[in-house]
Symmetry: C2
Subunit: 257 residues, 2 copies
């Protein structure tokens, strides 16, 4: 077995009201690569819990994803931010981000990196492995889809402004998750033709899916760090960000219920 849960490298405990929030850096391996995930859960909730695996955008596992995990943990989910780049590497510039994402996208690592992180979550004593949802942002949305195409045991998959790569012919029979696609209707990186091709693929695969298009939103609409100029193709959109959070919560409650 290539993938191995090595240790909990760091440990944090935050007590807030009735919640007893545990934050851990979790090391695990995908082949030769050592990954550093970020795990959060409320230790005061009775176990096994539904869980979410959160996949970062092309900049790597940074504060945005960590904060998102904390929000999910506050709802009662065990949340693991996966590390797709190894060693918790993050990018300091779009050029670096492009290089890091490019080294994974389109390679077998796009799937094995996800399977390794998912195994960590599934084997965690606090997790109900029948109620795990993978969700991701931009690059991470595409990665969440790819993980589901392996036939991974996932209750749900959520893409937040992710690239919508359809499954390959050989993968179609493996899909078993329910899909929620949260999409910026004006996203130039995911144009209508790509959306339509993807919808056709899900239709052909006869899976359960929903797609929500937010008018006026472009790429990266959930992330304040994307700035406020939609003409650049990626920008924060407060309304779509809030709506996507509410839609995500509904979906999680449904598929983990």
């Amino acid at each position: 077995m290539k993938r191995l849960l090595l240790c909990c490298a760091a440990f944090g405990l935050v007590t807030t009201g009735e919640a007893k929030v545990v934050e851990q850096t979790v090391e695990y391996r995908d082949g030769e690569v050592t990954c550093r995930g970020f795990l959060v859960y409320d230790d005061n909730l009775p176990g096994p819990r539904p869980a979410t695996m959160v996949i970062h955008d092309w900049t790597g596992l940074g504060d945005f994803v960590r904060d998102y995990c904390r929000r999910l943990a506050a709802l009662g989910y065990v949340a693991l931010a996966a590390d797709y780049y190894g060693q918790g590497t993050t990018a300091a510039s779009p050029q670096e981000a492009g290089k890091l994402a490019g080294a994974v996208r389109g390679t077998p690592a796009m799937r094995t990196r996800g399977s390794a992180a998912l195994a960590v979550l599934q084997q965690h004593p606090r997790v109900d492995r029948t109620k795990v949802v993978a969700l991701g942002f931009c690059f991470g949305g595409t990665a969440a889809l790819q993980l589901s195409y392996t036939g991974a045991e996932l209750a749900g998959v959520v893409s937040l402004h992710g690239g919508l790569t359809p499954p390959e012919a050989g993968d179609v029979g493996k899909l078993r998750a329910r899909y929620l696609i949260l999409h910026g209707a004006d996203d130039p990186h995911v144009p209508p033709a790509q959306v339509q091709t993807f919808e056709e693929a899900l239709r052909a695969a006869q899976v359960d899916w929903q797609l929500i298009a937010y008018g006026g939103a472009v790429h990266a609409f959930t992330n304040p760090a994307a700035g406020h100029d939609p003409s650049r193709g990626a920008a924060y959109h407060e309304g779509a960000a809030k709506r996507s959070w509410e839609h995500l919560k509904l979906f999680l409650a449904e598929v983990c219920g």
Copy 2:
């Protein structure tokens, strides 16, 4: 003034727990046509309340729409089912429904019938006229859109498996509602090309909009009376019906908040 609130023709009072549910048949006029709407609200809630105007499908104002209004009233909204056919006429067959809808669709009545009902709701002492949402099913979804194209004072518009007629060029500047389109992704009556044209129109009008496509759902997916055979192009879809209700609730809470 052509439109006149004539009287409350019938009156019902249902007390359930803390709620004091009032149900009324409300007569009003659109020109020469006397309409018989159905009004429901909880008389125990402090007034002025957010309100919903519910527009029936091609079969007319029947039990489905009345029940939907009751569900909305249970959430605290004043709910008025509008009567687009006059005299509360309902169809006994698809042929009759087609004839009734055909006599309104594409004529000025498609808008005046909505304006007349909206005025009843806006003038009701229990209603906060700044928080009125028009929603409709199939034919009624199209009618709700048309009402919004008049520049009507609406906080929101919701189409549930409605035909997605875009605004005409002269109407574009009048749109001021927020739009939620709840759409069956496999609806043969509202094909992808129509959806795309509609999205383009809303984009050009620079309004706030969201479109939710439910995979596997066809026309009339909220209505159990539509049967269970999607190959007929119209069928109940339990999953999409439940999701649309949750999505509607979120939207109402947002635009009436």
